[in-house]
């Protein structure tokens, strides 16, 4: 029973981690929590659903379509919404991001309808090991997430663009003086963050076999709690925080009850912010 919960928690955890990476990347470069990230990411799942169910795409092209469009939307929002107020107080940016979360969420409801849609895109096989059920979605989620996290780490550390992102998160002005294109790099962070979020929401849709309009908010909330738990701005922190959050939630769901489960993420986040605001691995900037 506990082992089964650990598997479920781990699967959920890596999905939170993928989403949390978006929050943390954006926090690293612009020092604010992008409240619209959950909703923008959900767009990925809806677009993939739409491409499969309405446009007759195959699964993989549909997912790529969803990821690319989401990424573009993320960059557009950054250009239109956050760029003009980068120097403003952070509260202004938070307000704008909340505004965008309303816009995207309502747009999703208007375009795709308020009803949940079935999202069964791959045939699910399941195996039983000594009472623990593992299905192909668990394995898919784990493999895809681990590949993405490893590649993100490699990208951040060993490419020029990755180095630019780290430089900007340390000191935007100095990075600009050193010849880094600040605007392009910030847009790049939004592109990467939104793409990871889209992957997360597509996988989440497969995991729950459905997509619904409030999904972005509820999962997004837990993901930013996870980002804070791991340490805002820290990439390994977001991964660790996401996985821990998934495990904590699964275990709390078993030990306590399923209603309380929804609130656990927030209690953990509040406690972390009170006792260790920088999180487990947190520093101010996106680096090790």
């Amino acid at each position: 029973m506990i082992a089964q919960q650990l598997i479920n928690g781990l699967t959920l955890g890596v999905l939170y981690a993928l989403l949390a990476l978006g929050y943390t990347l954006i926090f690293g470069t612009l020092s604010f929590i992008n409240f619209a990230h959950g909703e923008v990411s959900l767009l990925g799942a809806y677009l993939a659903w739409f491409a499969i169910a309405r446009m007759g795409f195959a699964v993989i092209p549909a997912c790529i379509f969803g990821i690319i469009i989401t990424s573009v939307v993320g960059v557009i929002i950054e250009r239109v919404g956050y760029k003009p107020i980068r120097t403003a107080p952070k509260l202004a940016m938070i307000t704008v991001s909340v505004g965008f979360s309303y816009i995207v969420q309502t747009a999703i409801q208007l375009i795709f309808g308020t009803q949940p849609h079935e999202f069964k895109v791959i045939s699910v096989a399941s195996w039983n090991f000594a009472g623990i059920t593992i299905n192909s979605i668990h394995i898919l989620v784990l493999i895809v997430s681990i590949i993405l996290m490893v590649s993100l780490q490699l990208f951040i550390h060993y490419t020029k663009s990755g180095r630019s992102i780290r430089a900007i998160s340390m000191d935007q002005d100095t990075a600009g003086l050193m010849g880094i294109n600040v605007n392009a790099t910030i847009s790049l962070t939004f592109a990467i963050g939104s793409a990871l979020g889209a992957v997360s929401s597509i996988l989440m849709g497969m995991y729950y076999a459905q997509v619904y309009p409030m999904m972005g908010t509820s999962i997004g909330n837990k993901a930013f709690a996870a980002a804070v738990l791991g340490g805002s701005g820290s990439i390994p922190g977001a991964m660790l925080g996401g996985i821990m959050m998934g495990l904590i939630e699964s275990i709390a769901g078993t030990v306590l009850n399923t209603q309380v489960r929804e609130g656990v993420a927030f209690v953990v986040m509040i406690l972390i912010l009170i006792f260790k605001p920088s999180g487990i691995l947190g520093k101010e900037v996106v680096k090790d």
């Binding site: 107080p89 909340v98 505004g99 209603q259 929804e262």
Partner: protein, 326 residues
Amino acid sequence: MKKVYGLLKRHSIIVIAVLGILAPLVIRNTYHVHIILMCMMFGILASSLNIAVGMTGLSNLAHATFFGIGAYAAAILNTRYGLPFYLTFFAGGLVAMVFGFILGAPTLRLKGVFLALVTTGFGQVVRIIELNWVSLTNGPMGISGIDAAEIGSYSFSTVSYIYYGLALLILCMYMSKRLMGTRVGRALFAIKYDETVARSLGVNITFYKVGAYVLSACMAGMAGTIFAHYVSFISPDTFTVADSTTVLCMVILGGAGSLLGPVIGAFILTIAPEIFRFAQTYRMIFIGAVMVIGVIANERGWVPMLTSKIRGLFHRKQTSEEGGKA
């Protein structure tokens, strides 16, 4: 013209009071009366949130939660223990104050984004408690049958709720105005602009921050009690996280830190969705767009921007000195 404008601005509280007193005499339609009352409620919320956000620079994304806590306190005390309105009113304020203290005391050393996160989390946790602590809050079913407010033998009609809300709104604005002019208010503004400097000048940071927070929570809680007695039914869905962000939006659009701005922001954002009710499905897009465009168009908020524009019309030669003021 300049004189009239200056007079209006200086006595904005009296202007609001007169308008508020006259409004129900002119407007008889129940639906319009309801909207005016909601304007009062959101006016109080915005004005009280302004004490924390605008004057002290503390972010708070859970202000509607305090409103909800006050309303729940009133509902529980009234339906279980039969307490009349004039007692639940103060009890609701007190309970909200206690919660404000519980939230504020450990978390107010956090800054900006992190404080915003804590308060979001607090709002969610309170909501989950409201939904699940069935023996106290009756869970998702909510509490119904809250008595209409009465003081002595005088029972409130819908219109008298407006006057009650107006009285609280005026109190709230008057308090803010008095605060701004005194040592306390200057201490709050000092904390907002530079905490280190404020501390080195001998301002007791913790005391003022927690004080501002508790005061603003108390006002919201009191407004909540009026609302609970007015609608006679409350449930966890009455006060959502979206309401909290809408209130914050009112303050920011109206101009955080100004006296009249947040109240006007509240009026506009309460009335506008009603006017555009035919486009109900687009309502949240509208609110979202207002938040985005409003903040980007002017980080200082719309109302200060417009007032300085209007001032500019009256005496063109003068350079905008309004800009320097917070």
